[in-house]
Symmetry: C2
DNA sequence: GTCTATACTCTGATAGAC
DNA sequence: GTCTATCAGAGTATAGAC
């Protein structure tokens, strides 16, 4: 049975680990970084979590679950497609501020451990399926232009995740500072859904 | 002055280094991997290139230059915008086969060394400017719908680069194998430009 | 130029006292 | 539960013979 203090230490470690792992990814994170961030000795990290791997898995599992449930609530809502897109974009840009690079975190983990990532992706499949079916239905009744649902989903993910992911490169290319990029992002919450919906508008000769 | 053999060794090392660095990124590449791939002793790598860093810089510089010149020739061509997009997509997917993850390579380097990446991005700026101006002109004369040029450029980059980058995750999500993904990609060369051009079509009330 | 052997450093993990 | 000291392994880089 754990003492009050024990529980607190464990939580402190997790908070610090989350912060550092999300920021630097698995490989570049040192146990010493987490120790410093949490104010807890390095050997205690091992006492509580046994290994760097275990600690990471714990953090990743928490983050990914929270990520999934957010996605889920948006996709399962009763909003029309454009609003869903808007919410997804807004949510992702929110991540990109307070929680700098969650998407990068997920992608880097994917590279580190492809097999386990597959399992995680499978956990996301019910959500995907919901969106997939929704798109299929709208293509069928001509509300949106003919498109393979998977392709639309990939386009959405690309437009939403990539700018968060490649932010440093994009800022350099566009030659703009942090403030300008934030403003750009805020605009994007409005303009991106419009861009997508425009692309999905059926042409006259496609309408039924 | 170098002997014939010396020049050859240097080139062998570079080829092997390119292959391994592009595949695994800087951090996960071991000098031993490059030694094995090239059939040249590890200590000789140091003899020729002094350090892992120097070797990497050399490879990266070559790759990035070649990447730039490809982009340049496409953007500077006289083709209309949709064809340019098609060429860009096709070129990137080509990378994603023979040269698996050049985009990932560039992105990971960006994360590793943001400052130098800024310089590299600046080298790409003349190309960006060309495309930027082209978009501006077409927005101005009403050929395409109003959009901030930078935003369109980011959308293009997202749609083209992200699927290459996140391929493992996407395959897992869509639950498809390599063969199916390749087929999907081939389709995409045709469908993506249409998707984009559709999004850029001016609505009746926007036309001049 | 090329090889073998080895030094050096960084970092995750453990031992063992308290 | 917590700390200090230390080990063990991996990986880059160098020394020095040929």
């Amino acid at each position: 049975m754990k003492s009050d203090n024990g529980i607190k230490a464990e939580e402190l470690i997790l908070q610090a680990a989350r912060k550092v792992f999300v920021k630097k990814g698995f490989d570049k994170t040192r146990m010493q970084d987490i120790a410093a961030e949490s104010g807890i000795t390095q050997s205690l990290l091992h006492y509580y979590f046994r290994s760097k791997d275990k600690l990471f898995e714990t953090v990743f599992e928490q983050e990914f679950s929270s990520y999934l449930s957010t996605m889920e609530s948006i996709v399962n809502s009763d909003l029309p497609l454009p609003q869903k897109i808007e919410n997804l974009v807004a949510r992702r840009l929110q991540d990109s501020e307070g929680y700098p690079v969650l998407s990068y975190f997920v992608l880097s983990e994917m590279a580190r451990n492809p097999d386990r990532m597959k399992d995680n992706a499978r956990r996301a499949m019910p959500i995907d399926k919901k969106l997939f079916d929704e798109i299929s239905a709208q293509v069928a009744d001509g509300t949106i232009a003919p498109i393979v649902p998977n392709e639309l989903m990939i386009n959405l993910l690309s437009l939403v995740l990539f700018p968060v992911l490649a932010r440093p490169m994009l800022q350099a290319m566009m030659n703009i500072n942090d403030e300008e990029f934030e403003a750009f992002n805020k605009q994007r919450v409005q303009t991106l859904p419009k861009f997508v919906m425009r692309a999905l508008q059926p042409l006259p000769n496609e309408a039924r």
